[in-house]
Amino acid sequence: MIDIVDHDTVERARRGDSQALGRLYDENHAALYRYLWARLQDRKLAEDLTGDVFLRMLEALPRYRPSDVPFRAWLYRIARNLLVDHYRKAGIRQAVPLQETSAGLPTAGAPEPLVERILTVERMHQALACLDGALQEVVSLRFLAGLSLRETAATLGKTQAAVKALQHRGLAALRLAFSEGLMNDE
């Protein structure tokens, strides 16, 4: 995951260079989709919103100022705004079906370890979904989207110190929720 986006690519995309725009898409769509999927836990919706984020990015590119905010932080702010928009329209998220969470797992291998891993992944997703809003956002951006501390802070409009504190608490809460999930299963 690149941490510093080539500003020349951004500038060329802003001027209408389709190759540069394509590169921005290619370099960012996978992580963006992963972030959106983790927040939505709906593959089709995450696909659609990923496309929408890039269309919004294209509209907003003329106003983007690299000196104000890192490019990826800017891109994820757009994504976050779309998510907020979606949540407000759709209301509370739906429960996550097991088959959705396990859809990315390999199907080969011994049956028992695979089942165990599916359960682990499901617990992790459920634990993530249980986090409070701000904690979930920081954890998703830092560890699913792979944003740096600075990028996460810029995305959320928080200080890096605040993000440090939130990621600490988020990981601790996640660990606790995950452990409790295991105990309940047992």
């Binding site: 209408g16 389709s18 769509h29 919706l45 659609d48 269309l55 859809a103 830092r142 660990r175 995950f178």
Partner: protein, 753 residues
Amino acid sequence: MNDDLLQQQLARLEAGEQFESVLNGLPAEVAELVRTAAALRDLPHPPPAAAALARQRQRLLSAQKGEKTMSDSSRSSRRRIFGGLSLAGAVGLLLVCVFVALGAGVLLFREGADDGLVKDPDEVMANSPLADPFASTLDAPDPQTALLQGSRGQVEIQVVGGIWESAAAGEMIASGGRLRTGPLSSATLALYDGCLVTLGSDTEVLIAQLDARRDGPRVIEIVQVSGETFHVVAQSTHLASVYEVFTPSGSGRVQGTVFAVTVSANQESSFSVVEGAVAVTAAGETVVATAGETTSLHSGEPPLPPASAFSGEGTVTQIGEFWIIGGQAMLVDPATLIVGDPQVGDWAAFAGRILPGGVRVADQITLIHFSVVDTFSFNGTVETISDTSWVVSGLTLSIVPETVIDAEIEVGDQVEVSGTIAEGNVFLAGEIHLLDETAGLAFNFAGVVEAIGPDEWVVSDIAVAITAETVIDPDIVTGDVVQVSGQILPEGIWRAEAITRVAESGTFDFAGVVISTNPWNVSGVPFGVDAGTQIDDGIQTGNRVRVRGVVLPTGEWLAESILQYDQGQRHAIHFTARVETIDPWLIGGTLVTVDNHTQILGEIAVGDLVSVRGNLLPGGEVVANKIILVAADSTCTLTVGTVAAFDGQTLSLLDGQTIVLPPELVLDVDLAVNDTIVIETCPDDDGLPIITGLTLLEEGDQVTTDTSGSGDQGQVVICHIPSGDLSRARTLSVAASAVDSHLAHGDLLGPCP
């Protein structure tokens, strides 16, 4: 274990260091968290469909080339559209969007550029709380559809034959549809040809005709039922194009321009032109108002001749039939829209028009700030408590029945006190609140309910968390104006403790962490500041501050004060009052210690209004860190009165006053009974009041103006040049009999150039 240690390990992991190497030697607790982070990074997810990705990429590139395309999510939900406009179109539209989002209602009615013209959008954007680079920028999909591009507060749409339904950005409206806004709300419609219509609060429009084509004559007809709208009309090269706004008292038609329309409660309306020209028709007659002009429409009557617009803001020094704001006298009539009930001493914005003859009529007066005179606030330790007075950090506070005091405050508690300095130099406590650092940061604001959910409400764009303990007034519905109070939790959640329905008014008061200072954003809440905002020095990103202010009619938040929230144990005090003596400094009845560390900003004299910021020492001594000049003593006063009699030297007013005019005062006008005048009185060198100016505000009978300079009803327009000073020249309407004497002392016939 601290946050930094964990971050250091995560950074090593992100830099590519081996997982086991990072874990080596770490405390078990930190290692567990690093493991959790690593597990998250490797958490599998269902991959997106390859075909979907390919289509998505192609759609993005097509959009860049200018091919019209619809967004992915809109295919699932036809009511919402995100983007899909051409890049060239996007650039143009964005500029207009910035202009409208920042200009509508703010620039025209509040920002108050003296010339009434709109400021440079970039300049405005840089200083605006709305300077959000992620604001919605959407586009109408076809000429027959308008898109709700932005909304704030309560916005509703009614389709033909339907009922009013709550609407949000992204929804669309066609011919026959209606759009309305509630209090503290606004909405912007984007049309296919680039035109934009912004609705202010309490406004309703009907889209009567909508064919906003770009490749032929457009036909756009809007009926404005109430409130105020702001229009940015894109130029059309087709002469047959129609863009017309109908009001109950007339209509305005344009080709390409920027203008505002206001419909008052009594169905009278006005058209104010910012750029270009608007042809306004009523009762079969048409007038053309050009940039900087306003025309008013009274039901059943032809439009009034266009008049120059004026606007500004300042301290209210007189209210009544005539108001004086920032030294500007203006007539207030039944059609004047007065927002927020400003009183003498308050800071208000005004906008209106200058009638022939120079009379200024206010169309709108909006309260911006309450008076800052003689107010104080500080944090301190409670030393004694009684029914009528408390001593907090050595300062005696007077307690009255209306003083708001948190329950369970005891001697020794840390409190925050605010109030006014009453006559006799009494510190009258308005509010005393317990400082509770552990519970989070308090907030309290008024806003419009936009969404109601089981766990979360959205009030004026702020999401507040609802818990089982939240006390909520019964029967609150979307669109109600409510007061919300609670705590901002460390993770940034605004937890509501009480939500109560309030009358339509907007104030806010919350404490939070500064995210940015230009534009201002505290704990995720953007707000504006202006010249009257009190801001503690040295506030930086990351500081905790308390922000108090007002919610403007457009829904924007304007801060009255931004103060450091936690001052440690130094017990800061902050108050604004007039200087009574200097050396020793007695300000608002308080003896203020000034030492070598005190900064005195401005040339301060006795009588000036100053803001004192300093420390409150044990025993009540106030040591000033800064004394800042807020306003110089304005010893000149303006008095408005009506002439009862005048014999050339002695003036009798209807209120009984008799004034002998000094012989050196040269009258610019011939006074007659029933004339309304403004008299300026200033102190002379000995401090004695003398009359230094007299201005005719409104003649007793109807004023007629003859700009040719040869009046046919006894009035002649001249250019009056006081003492030959051209920089002070102004146009006056005087009686024909007085013309010769004016010309004799250097005045010119006709209006000033």
